[in-house]
Amino acid sequence: MIQFILLQNRQGKTRLSKYYRTYTDDEKIKIEAEIHRIVTTRDQKFTNFVEFKQYKLIYRRYAGLFFTLCVDVNDNELVYFESIHLFVELLDQFFGNVCELDLVFNFNKVYMILDEFFLAGEVQETSKQTILHRVQDLDKLE
């Protein structure tokens, strides 16, 4: 399962964090700092997978943002790697050419989209169309 999801920019600011495992606020600060250090110092030619405590990190960079998934050791790396991509495609289609600022000003919607794609640390639905229809319906609700 996914232990947590992080979206951080190059400067280390966390734009989105979702934890599927319980951590205190202090622990989260430490984790986010360490993850930022790890993903920003790895060479581009290296693998997108790194051991982290008793888990592993799957990370991917899009422009100035680093998407990191922390998963169990026996999880399938490549499929989670592509899950990140699917999530980015969802955001891109919802916001229309998404950029970091969209995520800042619409953080409430980003969390809503996240909860339609991932839940309880697992992938919930994989059809982009299905997810987006649902999200658009929810967005219109008063």
């Binding site: 997978f49 790194v50 592509e82 800042v104 309880a120 992938v123 919930q124 994989t126 059809s127 299905t130």
Partner: protein, 601 residues
């Protein structure tokens, strides 16, 4: 919400951290006062203020108010207000929080509501913060939603994952006798989204105990046939041309929880699916498509490995892995090494086939990427057997000199385990461990050199002499030996120094002199050990008694308590009245009882 957008802009336009802090404080004070003064605040404002609170919290500011207002929003009939209440719970609360007791009733109301959107919010919430208490109170309602035929698909998907969350918090939520049939029946669904979520639930249960859930295997195989062979899926589940790699992989994982199928039809089905995946995966230019097909391929290889001898695709998989470990693309190389290690461990009969890749694997030990180095080390370790152990250990020892600290400790442990497990002769094993202590003293855990002591003690005089000679030679050669080396040498000479005492150059007094050279700068724990050594040697060889007695005198008032105590006691032990006891106390250590090697643990 204009108010929120303007506020976010304001904060972003602050030119310094102090300015931002001031603006935040101002806003918090404003909201606080509104919350206390305006008892008839409308939903829109309450919603707006709570979103602002959440934004400030996300920036890292501490927020200690607004709880009641947020909880209040949960019971609103308007979706936009209810959803911010739930968003607040998700961000501000965590499992076990006291406040959850207040909310659990609100959640239950929404869970059994006729309004599907409210139901979804409640399910999300249980997934975000639900713990054991939630499992006890709400699992029945969740399971009803999951298994009822009128439940909408978008609710059913969430119900499946909520059930999984509750199961993980309390394994008694889903006893097989009660629920296996109903939940596994859901695996006959057509809707792939529902299948994906339900399969995750089933996998979660299988991971704990598969007893009672055996019907999952044929159903998984049937769905795989649908997807892989029959192209029976709707196009919105195509990901770069691949039918839902996510579900394929989950189904392949389900099959790995059961022993190889015996029933003929099932066996055939699984075999056909694997055959199609393993032979049909090509390398394509499109990165995402390539990743997706290979994600499925690697899982199929994992299943083939699990099926072992009964798998017709295993030989092909072995070939593929052989190719993958030399590919330039790092991710594939990583997975190749990782999967090959799994293969070595689960199907040791394939080791002979894999040995031809030894040089590629050893080369990967030096890869600039630490992730690859770790996989390579694991693989080298997994592939090692009696025939290859000497070559493997020799390579690893070479590698040790240049390895970085992250990997050194693991490397030392693996070398120690391999050399003990596969050693065909004990004197080689002694050489290896002494070399370890010599080159990587810091990373050699105490358990490693305790082990060598145990083995040498139990094996008899020949090995004891070999060990004594070994430590003597090394100690003479090192100008600044590592403290662990001094400890090992001290212990070995204390017990077995007599085996080399007759040889020129290693008389008892020369032994003590050399050891004492390193005593001066040694840590207290090393000194304490050396005192034991001295007293044992002195007991057997009267010629050094005087020298040793002086050392004991010197340190009978040492600062370190252990050192002081030992020195003082050994002085007393030399008194004539204790002569009979002395012999017993200073006797050679008896054999150690054979238990599981502490190093392996």
């Amino acid at each position: 919400m204009r108010g929120l957008t303007v506020f976010i802009s304001d904060l972003r336009n602050c030119s310094s951290k102090e300015q931002e802090e001031k603006r935040v404080e101002k806003e918090m004070a404003h909201i606080r006062s509104k919350f206390t003064s305006d008892s008839n605040m409308n939903g829109y404002n309450r919603k707006k203020y709570v979103w602002k609170i959440l934004y400030m919290y996300m920036l890292g500011y501490e927020v200690d108010f607004g709880h009641m207002e947020a909880v209040n929003l949960l019971s609103s009939q308007k979706y936009s207000e209810k959803s911010v209440g739930y968003a607040w719970c998700a961000l501000m609360l965590r499992e076990g929080d006291e406040l959850l007791r207040l909310i659990i009733n609100s959640i239950r109301v929404d869970l059994i509501s006729r309004n599907d959107n409210a139901v979804c919010l409640a399910l999300n919430s249980i997934c975000n913060v639900g713990g054991k208490e939630f499992a006890e109170t709400l699992s029945n309602d969740v399971l009803k939603l999951l298994t009822h035929n009128i439940t909408k698909t978008y609710v059913r998907k969430k119900a499946a994952l909520t059930a999984l969350r509750l199961f993980r918090k309390s394994n008694d939520t889903l006893p097989a006798e009660q629920w296996a049939d109903r939940i596994l029946a859901l695996l006959d669904e057509k809707n792939i989204g529902v299948l994906t979520s339900v399969t995750s639930l089933v996998l979660g249960v299988l991971a704990v105990d598969s007893a009672g859930w055996e019907a999952a295997a044929p159903k998984a195989a049937r769905t795989l046939t649908r997807l892989v062979l029959n192209k029976d899926y709707s196009n919105d589940y195509l990901y770069y041309g691949i039918p839902t790699p996510w579900l394929q992989i989950k189904l392949l994982k389900v099959l790995q929880h059961f022993p190889p199928p015996e029933e003929h039809a099932l066996k055939l089905r699984v075999s056909e699916v694997l055959q199609r995946i393993v032979s049909g995966t090509e390398v394509t230019k499109n990165v995402n498509k390539n990743n997706a097909t290979h994600a499925v391929l690697f899982e199929a290889i994992n299943l083939s490995i699990h099926l072992g001898q009964s798998s017709e695709t295993l030989p092909q998989c072995i070939n593929l892995l052989g190719r993958f470990i030399s590919i330039r693309e790092a991710n594939i190389r990583y997975l190749g090494l990782d999967t090959m290690a799994r293969l070595s461990q689960e199907q040791p009969h394939t080791l002979d086939d894999l040995k031809k890749h030894q040089s590629t694997i050893l080369f990967s030990l030096k890869d600039p990427d630490i992730s690859i180095r770790r996989r390579a080390l694991d693989l080298v370790y997994a592939m090692c057997d009696t025939a290859t152990v000497k070559e493997t250990v020799s390579e690893l020892l070479n590698y040790l000199d240049n390895a970085d600290d992250h990997i050194k400790e693991e490397l030392v442990l693996k070398i120690a385990i391999l050399s003990e497990r596969f050693a065909s002769d004990n004197s080689w094993y002694v050489d290896v461990v002494l070399q370890l202590v010599r080159s990587a003293g810091d990373q050699v855990a105490d358990e490693v050199w305790y082990r060598i002591v145990q083995i040498v003690t139990n094996q008899g005089e020949d090995l004891q002499r070999y060990a004594a000679q070994g430590v003597w030679t090394i100690l003479n050669a090192e100008v600044l030996p590592h403290k662990n080396l001094v400890k090992v040498a001290g212990y070995v000479l204390g017990e077995f120094g007599h085996t080399i005492a007759e040889s020129p150059g290693s008389s008892p007094s020369e032994q003590i002199t050399l050891l004492h050279k390193h005593f001066r700068n040694a840590d207290p724990d090393v000194r304490a050990l050396l005192l034991n050594t001295y007293v044992k040697i002195a007991h057997t060889y009267a010629e050094v008694a005087q020298m040793v007695s002086e050392v004991m005198q010197q340190h009978s008032a040492a600062m370190d308590q252990e050192v002081q105590q030992r020195a003082a006691e050994y002085i007393s032990l030399s008194a004539p009245s204790l002569a009979s006891i002395k012999g017993t106390v200073l006797e050679m250590m008896p054999h150690f009882t054979e238990r599981e090697s502490i190093v392996s643990k």
